[in-house]
């Protein structure tokens, strides 16, 4: 006798866990299926946890979630080959009782989140791959797994199986991902003693620092790098558009090696032991690449729905929020004794549109195209900025006015004045 549930959630990442937890807590019968050996084994993220999205799901998460450091300082660095220019923002205000951003390590965090799903009454089954959706006409009525006797039925199926959702593609819910809409990111975790991390970044206790990095390290490809401080480790990563990697013929690992060797970065990770290397695809197509989000008996959430804000490097919070909203949609329909048909599940899309998820994606909807059409953002500007700073800071007998003139000259020389103005306008339009 095949099993039947109120809802099946495919995937145990942030979106899947948020959805499964929210529904299980509301008393629905929930089955969560994960292909990895344990929840989280297939998940890769930097990772920054945005408190707000999780707080709306588990208000007291700070009591027992495995958090590394809360972020009190954000640095933005633009690198050229030898130097960097950048800004720092650090505030003691981030040392509140309820900090808003944390660095996390995904393996322990996902284990914790999955534990919450189980404690709420959700049934979690790992090492099981969903190979197909079972459909009755257009309506999704269950899933087929790779195991003997593997058909399982449900009133609704929430797809949260990550970027490049094979299921969604197979069911025809969305097409192939385009290489220009996907970033490939690689990262490493370098272990260092806690005191070393603290002294190198001038932090105490559980304070943390985040560095966002752009510039020459991407070889002019559209992409950025990052460095996060964890309790006893440093996460370092870099990502660029898949299409650019293909065009440039550079391996992601090469970029990461160069980043590690950069004079601005090398001293920060010196003496660390590389423990974990991971590569991951990130859907960065933005608003225009978001597929249909629901249909007869199904919804799609998180990375599998392309819900990533590449500009602010946010993904997991969009994933958790979309998972929660999908779950709340199911809960509301159950309460009203309404079936999970497409017209009813439209509430999910409405809720997403009304949330920061779609509002932010809409705000930056032109950005992917602009960045893609303007590679100089990632090649010419970093060099110019660093040269400008170098010129200004060099005490060599030249007056400041002449220096400014040199700087202005070099900007215009590399990129016409109209080009500069146009860039500024486009950026302003895209990020306004």
């Amino acid at each position: 006798m095949a099993e039947k549930f109120d809802a099946i959630v495919v995937g145990a990442g942030p979106a899947g866990n948020a959805a499964a937890y929210t529904m299980a807590k509301a008393g629905l019968s929930v089955l969560q299926l994960e292909r990895g050996e344990t929840p989280g084994t297939k998940n890769v993220q930097g990772a920054i946890l945005y408190a707000d999205a999780l707080e709306r799901i588990i208000p007291d998460f700070r009591d027992d979630a495995p958090l590394e450091r809360h972020v009190i300082e954000q640095r933005m660095w633009v690198l050229d080959e030898k130097s960097f220019i950048g800004t720092n923002y650090r505030s003691d205000a981030f040392n509140s009782d309820q900090p808003n951003r944390y660095t996390i390590l995904r393996a322990p965090f996902d284990k914790w989140f999955s534990g919450k799903v189980k404690a709420a009454g959700g049934l979690v089954i790992c090492e099981t791959t969903v190979t197909d959706l079972i459909q009755e006409g257009k309506k999704v009525i269950g899933v087929r797994t790779d195991r003997e006797g593997g058909d399982i039925y449900a009133d609704v199926v929430i797809l949260a199986d990550g970027v490049n959702s094979l299921l969604a593609k197979k069911a025809g819910f969305h097409g192939e991902l385009e290489a220009k809409n996907v970033a490939l990111a690689v990262k490493e975790i370098h272990f260092l003693p806690e005191e070393v991390v603290q002294s190198r970044f001038n932090i105490k206790g559980n304070e943390g620092v985040v560095i966002e990095i752009a510039g020459a390290v991407t070889h002019g490809m559209v992409g950025t790098a990052f460095l996060y401080t964890n309790k006893e480790s440093i996460t370092l990563g870099i990502g660029c558009l898949l299409s650019d990697f293909k065009k440039a013929g550079i391996a992601p690992y090469t970029l990461l090696e160069e980043l590690k060797a950069h004079p601005a970065i090398a001293p920060l990770i010196e003496g660390g032991e590389m423990k974990e290397y991971a590569a991951h695809l990130i859907p960065e197509g933005g608003y225009k690449a978001v597929p249909t989000l629901y249909g007869e008996g199904w919804m799609i959430a998180g990375d599998s729905a392309g819900l990533v804000n590449a500009v602010h490097r946010e993904g997991s919070n969009l994933a958790m929020t979309s998972g929660r909203l999908a779950a709340e949609t199911v809960i509301a329909l159950k309460e009203m004794k309404l079936p999970c048909t497409a017209p009813h599940l439209a509430r999910y899309k409405a809720a997403l549109d009304d949330s920061f998820v779609m509002k932010d994606l809409r705000k930056y909807k032109e950005l992917p195209d602009i960045l893609h059409g303007n590679p100089h953002f990632f090649s010419v500007y970093p060099q110019l900025l660093n040269r400008a700073a170098h010129t200004m800071l060099m005490v060599d007998g030249q007056d400041k006015h002449s220096k400014e003139k040199t700087i202005r000259g070099s900007f215009v020389e590399q990129r016409s004045l109209w080009g500069l103005v146009g860039d500024a306008y486009r950026m302003w339009r895209a990020t306004r």
Partner: protein, 280 residues
Amino acid sequence: MHIVVCIKQVPDSAQIRVHPVTNTIMRQGVPAIINPFDVFAIEEALRLKDRFGGRVTVLTMGPPQAEDALRKAIAYGADDVILLTDRAFAGADTLATSFALAQTIRKIGEEHPVDLVFTGKQTIDGDTAQVGPGIAKRLGLQLLTYVSAIDALDLQGRTITVQRRSEGGVQVIQTRLPALITMLEGSNQIRFASMDDMFRSARLTVPQWNKDRAGIEDVSKIGLKGSPTVVSKIFTPKPRAVKAQMIGADLDASGTANAILDILGSRHPRLAQELGLIAP
């Protein structure tokens, strides 16, 4: 027929790395798995059950987290599991461990008499291969170590015939039940669990037995007290000084092959002579 399989949850030693500079081991994030040798014991027990009927009980002694290993055993198709867990067992060596497990199996047998006990050949963390023989001696079971195949089982006649690995060959041995078998690796391949068993595993509440439930009264025989051996020192091995000299980074396969043979000839002439690469 009732089979008890003893398993152990161990850190996956394949994922432990030594810090090249400090020469300390990095345990962080090393996942816990069922001792790989025990997986062959589970599968062999399940195969006997498939052929002859009966039940398979999987037993482990360990901390509460070891229930993950038992959950997995249920997914493979075990009928029952028992987690033997008690602070009083802490610090047990192989003798004390085999005492606790033997007592528990005796207790299990009061309800369902045990015909066969299976264990893996050894664990990958302790590598002692002593607990199996220890349990057999304490329970008076016939001991069959390094078994590669079970040729015959006669439940009426109470006999079993197995092939067991010895140094120079294979012994075909016949003995009586009840017996304890330690299973040789590579002798079978663990099954892919059915969806039903996955559900059973996910819904299972793992039964925990403490020493009282296992009928262990004499605490002088368990844990640190019951262990004749004590660890007096733990240290890291001396590191090997140099890293490998890399060969052929800019050569094709054939260039690399010849480069390595050239090096053997020039730097290791005696070895090269023995290989016949260069004339003596």
